[in-house]
């Protein structure tokens, strides 16, 4: 609760993303939260203490990336010995890019990896000390389809013959409950469909369908059982076929409440721009922009490790070394937002909501993240008209190169 005496910050000379529109208005922040100025005004007779001139720019909630494997040379699945250092540096680096909250993503790994790293990837508030907020880990696999493993290592994949016990053995149910925000599974893998509702009840995590060959019927089953998200739509799933559109077909479901959210990578490489447009207009309210970035994000071209695999980075593309398999991306959220508009012709409001509101809604946290409503965390971006990030604020404090120091992995 904001204290009466704390300084009030006012953003002025700006257009704010509010009620699905950009409106000329002021935004007030106190104690790291967005506040209703009228209470302070009438009750405490307070006017703002700090005034920030946004120079006519756009004020948006900070970007939320729910699919990111690493950056600046660090990797959440590989750097298990230095996981705290990895999380710390990635959080700070992402913050300066305009991503104020994220889900550190682990690729399919052996149980010992999860037991070692998950506790360091649990929810953590964003701040100048911490960098971007961590919303909880995204465990992508290993309960996925061997035919759609993408860059994941085959030996780590498994089935859930024993139901929820297998999940416990792999991750630890307690770890899921405390540190994980959502999990990607393939609905057709043995034991997965039945485990979905039990997992949700036992741990409260969200479930996402991905890395899967599931038919539309199977995907629909998963959705009905509570899988409210699709992991990187189009990638690592059964392609769209007119008689069996697979997981992608969920976007065409006739009643909109039964359509899931879906992550979509807008680097122009993972998904053809036209496919982005087709998917978006099939289900605009579900689009969540994600980067699926890997450790080479923000590093120069060269050779790096992802999970337990080696990859090659060349001019914006990342392949498994020696193959043509895409291993991940190195795009940033800010670029995704701009590309999205290019690909679909959608409005700025829509693009921004895909990067903020929808991911927050998917995780059920839109009351405090992804939104500029009263009471939400003051994670704010000031953008120019071309949606380039000008200034970043986390918990109401501005994050700059001076007060956010981080390093790349040596």
């Amino acid at each position: 609760m904001p204290r009466i005496s704390s300084p009030i910050t006012q953003f002025f000379n700006c257009r704010i993303l509010k009620n699905h529109q950009l409106v000329e208005d002021y935004l007030y922040v106190q104690d790291g939260k967005i506040i209703d100025p009228e209470k302070m005004f009438w009750d405490a007779k307070r006017k703002p203490d700090i005034r920030i001139d946004c120079k006519g720019g756009i004020v948006s909630p900070g970007y939320i990336d729910v699919q990111i494997n690493g950056a600046y040379g660090y990797d959440f699945s590989n750097d298990t010995d230095i996981i705290e250092e990895a999380a710390s540096n990635i959080s700070k680096g992402l913050l300066l890019q305009g991503c104020t909250a994220y889900c550190p993503t682990t690729v399919s790994s052996r149980p010992e990896v999860y037991h070692r790293v998950l506790k360091h990837l649990g929810p953590r508030d964003g701040s100048i000390q911490n960098g971007a907020a961590i919303l909880g880990a995204h465990v992508e696999g290993p309960f996925i389809s061997p035919q759609k493993k993408g860059a994941h290592e085959l030996e780590t994949l498994r089935t859930a013959k024993n139901g929820i016990a297998d999940f416990d053995e792999c991750y630890g149910l307690d770890n899921l409950r405390r540190y994980v925000s959502y999990m990607t599974v393939a609905p057709e893998v043995e034991g997965v469909l039945d485990s979905i509702p039990k997992l949700i009840e036992a741990t409260g995590i969200n479930i996402s369908s991905g890395h899967s060959n599931a038919t539309t019927a199977q995907s629909s089953q998963a959705l009905k059982r509570g899988a409210n998200m699709i992991t990187h739509l189009f990638n690592a799933m059964h392609a769209f076929h007119q008689r069996d559109p697979g997981i992608i077909g969920l976007l065409g479901s006739s009643e909109s409440e039964t359509r899931p959210f879906y992550g979509i990578i807008c680097d122009g490489i993972h998904v053809h721009p036209h496919s982005v447009m087709i998917a978006y207009y099939a289900h605009p309210k579900g689009a969540c922009l994600v980067t699926d970035a890997m450790s080479a994000q923000c590093l120069p071209d060269g050779y790096y490790k992802l999970g337990e695999m080696d990859v090659d980075v060349t001019s914006g593309h990342v392949y498994i070394k020696g193959t043509n398999t895409i291993a991940g991306s190195i795009i940033t959220m800010a670029e995704c937002v701009r590309n999205f508009i290019k690909f679909t012709g959608a409005s700025k409001v829509e693009a921004l909501e895909n990067a903020t509101l929808h991911p927050a809604q998917m995780l059920g946290i839109e009351h405090k993240k992804g939104n500029l409503i009263h009471g939400a965390d003051a994670d704010i971006l000031i953008l120019d008209d071309n949606l380039h990030v000008q200034r970043v604020f986390v918990a109401g404090i501005e994050a700059t190169k001076e007060n956010i120091k981080f390093s790349e992995k040596v």
Partner: protein, 384 residues
Amino acid sequence: MRLIIREDPKAVAYYTANYVRQRINEFKPTRNRPFVLGLPTGSTPVEVYWHLVDFYKRGEVSFRNVITFSMDEYVGLPRSHPESYCSFMHRHLYDHINLRPENIHMLDGNAEDLAAECQRYEEKIKEVGGIELFLGGIGPDGHIAFNEPGSSLESVTRVKTLAYETVLANARFFGGDVNKVPKLALTVGVGTVRAAREVLLIITGAHKAVALAKCIEEGVNHMWTVSVIQLHPSAMVVCDEDATLELHVKTVRYFKSIEQVQEQLIGRQNISLKGSISKLVGYDPDQAYRPIADPSANEKSALDTDSSDVSHQDESDQGSITDSADDDQYSVDQSEDDGESDNVQEMDRNTLSATELTASGSSEANGTRTNGSLVPAAVTGNPF
């Protein structure tokens, strides 16, 4: 009473805001001698406030030593409700200017003891030295604030039950549902408004025409409470052409001609902001008498120099407001009017001041013609 007629609500809003600005600046308020302003809510005041915010942002007025009192507030509506008058004032004015929160006084419609709240309000007004300028509107039933027909003309701040017509008129702010409109309100009394040192009423729209006619052409009557301004020593009504639709042609012509007379005969420099004339400089009573032509015949000839479309004045005139006082480019020949001097002096001091003027500043700004309304002089331009 001064009756200033302008072409449309935009011009009325601008005139009013400009007048308030100049009054504050001329008063030069200080902490110990603040400028006390009474403020209304409603759709016309919204535009007045927009202009005031604009003046503030340009540095042309400061509200640092201004104290405000609102006219009314619904009873029982939570302060955070978007239609409460607190929300309205915050949204349209208080959030944008340097008015100090402790200098803002609003009636509390959720007070435990409403009568005590009204009493407190009256006492506060006295404590700060009374209201210098009270802005207000008029209801279609001729009420000022929520002093519905039948209110005592000496009334003080109190709780009032809203008239049916008022509830209907306000339903548009509550999604068109009359059941959602509060039925009770706290309001300053007619007496409270009369006690202010100056009253300025903003009246626009054809639906207010009957009320305006009743209030200025007929007697002082508690069924049309605004009529009480006839007894006020310093009252001004700013209205648009539509609001004059029920007035006698003679009335409208009279008030318009006053503005013209002031412009031509007396000269801007001799008229104070509040309309009094202290001396006549550059005015030679020995020159031959020449009557002022009937304003309606004059619209093209005598006023060549200063017909400019009022609605353009906002954009063009912002900077030149203070300059135009000294600008004597308007080429109306002052020597023409001297014969009128006796007549001019006989007219009521207050009424003479109705014209401010089609300041030359605005005339040079935009040479466009008005659309043939009766007296372009009155219609044009920024008066100050």
